[in-house]
């Protein structure tokens, strides 16, 4: 409780401890989120996603510095992959943000994905809630380097910035489904290198093909390591947020995500319940056996299990 009060006052050590709790301890985490949930929902949550090496961390660093000029309090959650073999991880996003470590208005936390596949860690959304409750005006979630379908960031952010770089393939890549559909804003980083203009053009062409878009996402060319055009990116992020607010879409988007989170929690708990019911007495194994022998089918057994819970 004391930790929670300290966190609500913005104490960094308390924030850090509580994030460890949501990462490691399911029971305590539940209690914690129950207590702080009413304090959440104030921050503008921005997702920064894109392929490995696109410059997400460098861009985050520069963007946070820009936000700090206006004295906003900023939280950063940077996700990197966990080894599926050993459970270990190298969390190296901070290396691009070392200057921010001592800024009293910035909190940065690295997270390993720990087996979670959508580009975030399982505890990321709860960590965001902690930073939100602690008074951050902006929370930036930097995803793992993504491929084509790690799109969980849309479930967690108000604004998704998709960072692209030149040289990753031709224009067919940009009309594929998945990651290219989730950007509220496209950023072409490393725009000082050859091919950047072409990459921007291809993204623009892809965006112009969509007929039924209420809002066409803008494409901004930046060079993060030279701090170039970050202001323009910031303006577009603000415009997107304003667009959401003006059209009642912020509420809609957040409600959609809240509903999704609730259903995920129920799903998870149901699964645990079923496992608890059937694993120890060998029922799960005997059901598997009868499925293997084609004596029944998975849908029938699903209904059997669910009817028992009701």
């Amino acid at each position: 409780m004391e930790l929670i009060n300290k966190m609500l006052d913005g104490d960094k050590r308390a924030c850090a401890r509580l994030i460890s709790i949501v990462e490691n301890d399911e029971k305590e985490s539940e209690k914690l989120i129950k207590t702080i949930y009413k304090h959440t929902g104030k921050a503008h949550i921005i997702g920064i996603t894109g392929p490995p090496g696109a410059g997400k961390s460098t861009l985050t660093d520069k963007y946070v510095k820009l936000l700090r000029k206006s004295d906003y309090k900023v939280g950063v959650i940077a996700v990197d992959p966990t080894s599926p073999y050993t459970g270990g991880a190298i969390l190296g996003d901070r290396i691009r943000m070392n200057d921010l470590a001592l800024d009293p208005g910035v909190f940065i936390r690295s997270m390993g994905t720990r087996g979670y596949l959508g580009g975030l860690a399982k505890a990321t959304r709860n960590a965001v809630k902690i930073l939100d409750a602690s008074g951050c005006d902006y929370i930036i979630i930097e995803t793992v380097g993504v491929g084509q379908s790690e799109v969980d960031i849309v479930k967690a952010a108000d604004t998704v910035v998709l960072v692209m770089v030149p040289g990753l393939g031709d224009d067919i890549q940009s009309i594929k489904a998945g990651i290219m559909e989730i950007g509220d804003l496209f950023v072409v980083n490393k725009s000082d290198i050859f091919g950047a203009q072409r990459t921007a053009t291809e993204i623009n062409m892809m965006l112009d093909m969509s007929q039924d878009m209420d809002r066409r996402p803008p494409v901004v060319m930046v060079t993060a390591n030279q701090n170039k055009n970050i202001e323009q990116m910031e303006q577009e992020i603000q415009k997107h947020y304003q667009y959401l607010v003006d059209n009642g879409l912020l509420e809609e988007r957040r409600k959609k995500n809240i509903k999704r989170e609730l259903l995920e929690l129920v799903e998870e708990e149901l699964k645990k319940l079923v496992i608890r019911e059937t694993e120890n007495n060998g029922e799960l194994d005997s059901m598997t056996e009868s499925l293997f022998n084609k004596e029944t089918d998975p849908f029938t057994l699903r209904d059997v299990l669910l009817s028992r819970i009701k």
């Binding site: 050590r13 080894s83 270990g88 991880a89 290396i95 470590a101």
Partner: protein, 131 residues
């Protein structure tokens, strides 16, 4: 899932040789730990701030430039100042034998000099981190 040990690996001081630190980071990763790698030329203040925000169990530092007698105790002092002395500190690099007793006295839990095996370091961390 078991809570993985979280380690901050940092290079304070001005020398630019981070191969050793990267080797250690990699070995700890392979031992199932979460390694926050902050890289070269970190000030003690930056290291301590990062360790607190990352809520690590242990800080591992490497110095090859000879500034260890100043920088390691500085980190430990800052941890104490911020009520974070529960975070263990270990160190490595080119540290002369004669300097080791004073560094241990100052609170460095272990010092691994050239020739130390990564398995020794992993074992030390596993045995000594309070869980």
């Amino acid at each position: 899932m078991d809570k993985p040990i979280r380690v901050l690996v940092a290079k304070p001081g001005l020398d630019g040789h981070d191969r050793g630190a990267k080797m250690i980071a990699r070995a700890l990763r392979d031992a199932g730990m979460e390694v926050i790698y902050t890289g070269l030329r970190q000030t003690p203040e930056q290291i301590v701030a990062a360790a607190i925000q990352e809520d690590v169990d242990i800080i591992g530092m490497s110095i090859l430039s000879g500034a260890h007698n100043h920088l390691f105790p500085k980190v430990i002092g800052l941890l104490k100042e911020q009520d974070a002395e529960d975070i263990m500190v270990i160190a490595g690099g080119v540290i002369p034998e004669d300097d080791i007793p004073a560094l241990k006295e100052a609170g460095v839990a272990a010092i691994f000099t050239p020739g130390a095996l990564t398995t020794e370091i992993v074992q030390f961390i596993r045995d000594n981190v309070k869980r």
